[in-house]
Amino acid sequence: MKNLIKKELSHYLNNPLGYIVIVLFGIFANLFFVKDLFLIGSASLRPFFLLLPWLLLVFIPSITMRSFSEEKKNNTIEVLLTLPYSETQIVLAKFFAILIIITIALSLTLSLPLSLLFLTKIYLPEVLVGYVGVLFLGASFSALSLFFSSQTKNQVISFLLSTIILFFILILGSDFLASYLPRLIQEFFVPFSFFYHFNNFTKGVLDFRSLFYFCSFIFLFLFLTILVLEKRN
């Protein structure tokens, strides 16, 4: 599977667009946090972590939209599926390659806690747990986006489907939706919301229920993607 992951990574990183997307993510993540830093007046990365899901909402579908869509369009999926790799290995390799890209992009934001560390004291466990939360959130976004990429040959449709569905899951349980939905329905959907679980991580709380939620979400969509490949008939 290392061979597959290496091929996936070289596919992203041999393309100038891959670098542009990663650098743009780094620029916007740093910019949106820094512009309000002194207004907030608090040495906390919580506002930064709360901003990240909205950036990942665009960033992750833009890197995963090619995963299967491009392979299906160019018919290289037939090359992949006639090599001695299982469908599970192929899906997992693409997933791990995307996680590595996300990690590279997030590493561009390490300048923020490092800068704060020079200016004042920050609570490092809170920062670490925050980043763990972002990684799990990113992995969840990637699993869902991979699934939609496996559904279509069209990268734009893959991008739009992923972004729209992720947006709705993000805003489930938000105040915005609460004003429109009956309380009973709202209370039902809240535990399925990304923000409901991600909030704990931004506070520096490693809640195992939230970890379970993200792991289940990732497992569900990777499983569905594997099924899509297996049922290719």
């Binding site: 061979n3 597959l4 290496k6 091929k7 070289s10 596919h11 041999n14 393309n15 160019n74 018919n75 290289t76 037939e78 090359v79 599926l81 006639t82 090599l83 001695p84 790799y85 299982s86 290719r232 008939n233």
Partner: protein, 228 residues
């Protein structure tokens, strides 16, 4: 041995492959002939386990391509229709990727045998059609597979390149079982020692290549016309 026994494949209501059966013997070069849409590519994909048959049984050696897909794919080299390739990769990178997938570190020898020695450092997208076809063929040969399944291996090539590929197939057929599909009758005549003609999903002829010159064309027209 590749064995197909009463294999059919439906896509919705459409019967793409209709109750076909055949068995290969060692060292055969089988020309799989048929008009466009006859079911040649579908049959090849069924053999590889890329598609699952709607009914019937397929085995490659002792393995079922659906139950033991990985084992089958280790024994079979495949050149897909239209030769899809990762164009952004260099030839060396691509062949190394295929070699690692098939657990073979002899890919350089295959590349040289197929005539890719001078283009290993070039990106696949920069190659001519003929060289791209050679890359696809090299990828199929890596791992020294027992069986080669080549879907229209000379498609889109100029006559000189076609001749080179045909010569290579004939040479490989001395040691491997090869199934190649084509709708160029002269190609089947030049390369194959056994013909399977498929039309509207059914096998209409399975036997030796006619000895007389132009015999393949006469046979093809007769069998396809009868079926119509």
């Amino acid at each position: 041995m590749i064995l197909l026994s009463s294999v059919s494949k439906f896509f919705g209501q459409k019967k793409a492959v209709d109750n076909i059966s055949f068995k290969t013997k060692g060292g055969e070069i089988i020309g799989f002939l048929g008009p466009n849409g006859a079911g040649k590519t579908t049959t090849m994909r069924l053999i590889l386990g890329y598609l699952k048959p709607s009914s019937g049984k397929i085995s490659i050696g002792e393995f079922d391509p659906i139950e033991n897909r990985i084992e089958v794919l280790k024994q079979v080299g495949y050149l897909p229709e239209n030769n899809p390739l990762y164009l952004e990769m260099k030839v060396k990178e691509y062949l190394n990727f295929i070699a690692q997938a098939k657990n073979d570190n002899q890919w350089q020898k295959v590349a040289i045998d197929v005539g890719l020695g001078d283009v290993l450092l070039k990106k696949i997208e920069e190659l001519s059609r003929g060289f791209k076809q050679r890359v696809g063929l090299a990828a199929a040969l890596i791992g020294n597979p027992k069986y080669l399944i080549l879907d229209e291996p000379t498609s889109g090539l100029d006559p000189l390149e076609q001749e080179k590929i045909r010569f290579l197939i004939k040479k490989l057929g001395q040691k491997k079982t090869i199934i190649f599909s084509t709708h160029i009758l002269s190609e089947a005549e030049a390369v194959a020692n056994r013909l399977i003609i498929i039309h509207k999903g059914k096998i209409v002829y399975d036997g030796k290549k006619p000895k007389e010159k132009g015999g393949v064309e006469k046979l093809f027209k007769l069998k396809v016309k009868n079926q119509n």
